[in-house]
């Protein structure tokens, strides 16, 4: 499991080439900056179609949505063949490339336990093309393909529980992180660098345009999500060892996360209560898992 670090231990060297072409207050740009800061120069970055976040100084290669897992596999095996196992094949994908279109390739790579690291910047919809719903979009969020109207209440289905889906592949390391907790994020990337096999870190990255809030609130909202238990920070090793990294004595109400975002503005009291109940019950089972140190399935 990852070891806690302090802000003073965060490396000073930047891997990004800035300014990039991301929107103002982009959570994904910050996720890329922090993750590649921790990874250092010895990586090959792989991309599938996604928002333009922070461009990095690392070598970079891109492919189609479906090919992410296969391309990473090829690079990692190629590096092994030429004896450069000190170089890490890193996939930096969006939620579409992980949860939905890219899933089958990644699932296959996870099942084969390829020696790769996948980092997902999860902004909870296809933001680059204009906020279309994805498997990562939470329930009741309004998107351009699930707009709220007289008959519609936004997305009807809950968000896919992708960390546990990858944990169920029994891969060496699965973790969630948030841009509001940079120490935790960098500690997890640092730890992921030290092990071999399939590793995945999913970073929640708020999107001011798609989630519809003022750009200065990016970190505030990401933090509220973690503190309300909507985006819990945890790690899972080999599909069973479990650790919760952020355990407040008491969770904040979900309204602190939902209210500032205009994509949830239409929600009624009953719908908010439903989200609150759902979050609390999931949190209970996470606390139980943490106490026992293993995933309860």
């Amino acid at each position: 499991m990852s070891e806690r670090i302090t802000r003073a231990q965060i490396p000073m060297e930047e891997m990004g080439i800035t300014p990039g072409s991301a929107c103002q207050g982009c959570g994904a740009a910050l996720a890329a900056r922090l993750a590649f800061k921790a990874l250092g120069p010895n990586v090959i970055r792989h991309g599938v179609p996604c928002c333009p976040d922070t461009v990095t100084k690392t070598p970079q290669i891109g492919t189609v949505f479906e090919g992410g897992g296969a391309l990473l596999t090829g690079t990692s095996r190629g590096l092994k063949a030429i004896g450069r196992e000190d170089v890490l094949a890193v996939g930096f994908f969006g939620d579409g490339g992980t949860y939905d279109i890219g899933f089958q390739g990644l699932s296959a790579a996870a099942e084969r336990n390829e020696n790769i690291l996948v980092i997902t910047k999860d902004n909870e919809a296809y933001m680059n093309t204009g906020n279309q719903r994805s498997g990562a979009t939470p329930k009741y969020a309004t998107t351009s393909t699930n707009p709220v109207g007289p008959k519609s209440r936004g997305k009807e289905q809950p968000k896919k529980n992708i960390p546990f889906i990858f944990a169920a592949h029994y891969v060496p390391y699965v973790a969630t992180a948030s841009v509001a907790f940079p120490e935790d994020l960098i500690a997890k990337v640092n730890y992921a660098k030290t092990i071999t096999g399939f590793r995945i870190i999913i970073i929640q990255s708020p999107c001011p345009v798609g989630w519809r809030f003022e750009p200065e609130k990016t970190i505030e909202i990401a933090r509220a999500g973690v503190q309300a238990g909507i985006w819990p920070l945890f790690e899972i090793q080999n599909g069973h060892d479990f650790k919760l990294n952020y355990k407040p004595k008491e969770l904040k109400p979900v309204t602190e996360y939902l209210k500032p975002q205009a994509r949830f503005r239409h929600m009624t009291e009953a719908e908010i209560a439903e989200v609150q109940e759902d979050t609390t019950s999931k949190w209970q089972s996470l606390i139980q898992s943490d106490e026992m140190g293993k995933v309860l399935i």
Partner: protein, 274 residues
């Protein structure tokens, strides 16, 4: 036929403005088109949109290459896009700037009108979304459409209170617009400074994206590094010797995350007039 080109930034609503214009023309019984330019447009990045208005069916389907009227929604966009490029002789350029038309540096055979739409939008709507705040000025300057039909179109796009606020912005810009006058400068059409690559230019300068600029009060700073670690664009650099942050303004897009995250409020977002 009247052909209009709109220059703006993602998030200022240039595309919505083009639709409002086309809808307003339709309300007056004219034929109209609104065409957005598709590319990698994002919030803050420069973009263009086009409108055609005619009293007979519009057969053209291409982008507007030689506009009669150029509407500029952003005070600094002229540094990245040629806002008067291939403007028809005798055309009109309507600029969002606090300057009077006489002070504008653009030159050529066209008329210049100015309105401080950013201030109007901030005071009326509370946000720097200048699309409706410039349409009132458009009506006054060109006379191509009636104020009532613009208001009717706005009601269609923004129902309720938001519509009323936008209509207030339109009326105010109708009153406050200055010009049009013949361009003072005769030559030197281009004010454009750099090549436009992906919206931020080869000079790697995004200063023009900002409406509000962060300023650090070093005496208040407690050296917690929060602003440094949370800046998405590494605009905030850390001075290891002094243990204080400093800002590289060419990288700052003005999102305001640093000011919001500073625990002692040592960073303030101020509006710098341009």
């Amino acid at each position: 036929m009247i052909e209009i080109r709109l220059h703006g930034r993602g998030g200022q609503g240039a595309v919505t403005a083009s639709r409002i214009l086309a809808t307003a023309a339709y309300e007056e019984g004219q034929y109209s088109q609104a065409i957005p330019m598709y590319g990698t447009e994002r919030r803050g990045a420069p973009l263009t949109a086009f409108v055609r208005i005619d009293n007979q069916r519009v057969r053209e389907r291409m982008l507007v290459h030689e506009p009669d009227i150029s509407i500029v929604l952003d005070p600094l966009i002229a540094k990245q896009q040629g806002v008067v490029e291939s403007l028809k002789a005798g055309g009109i350029v309507l600029l969002n700037t606090a300057m009077a038309p006489e002070e504008v540096k653009l030159g050529g055979d066209f008329k210049v009108a100015t309105v401080d739409a950013t201030t109007i939008a901030l005071e009326v709507l509370g946000r720097p979304i200048t699309n409706t705040a410039i349409l009132g000025a458009f009506v006054k300057v060109t006379g191509a459409l009636k104020l009532e039909s613009i208001e009717k179109a706005i009601k269609k796009y923004f129902p309720g209170r938001l519509g009323d606020m936008n209509i207030a912005a339109v009326r105010r810009s109708y009153e406050e617009v200055k010009g049009p006058i013949q361009a003072v400068v005769k030559s030197g059409v281009q004010e454009k400074m750099d090549l436009n690559v992906g919206g931020y230019g080869v000079l790697k300068d995004v200063s023009s994206w900002r409406v509000f600029t962060p300023e650090v009060d070093v005496d208040k700073c407690i050296s917690c590094k929060a602003c440094w670690i949370f800046c998405p664009e590494t605009a905030i650099q850390w001075d290891e010797a002094k243990k204080k942050p400093y800002i590289e303004y060419n990288k700052c897009k003005g999102c305001g995350v640093c000011a919001n995250e500073c625990p002692v409020k040592a960073i303030e977002m101020v509006r710098v007039e341009v």
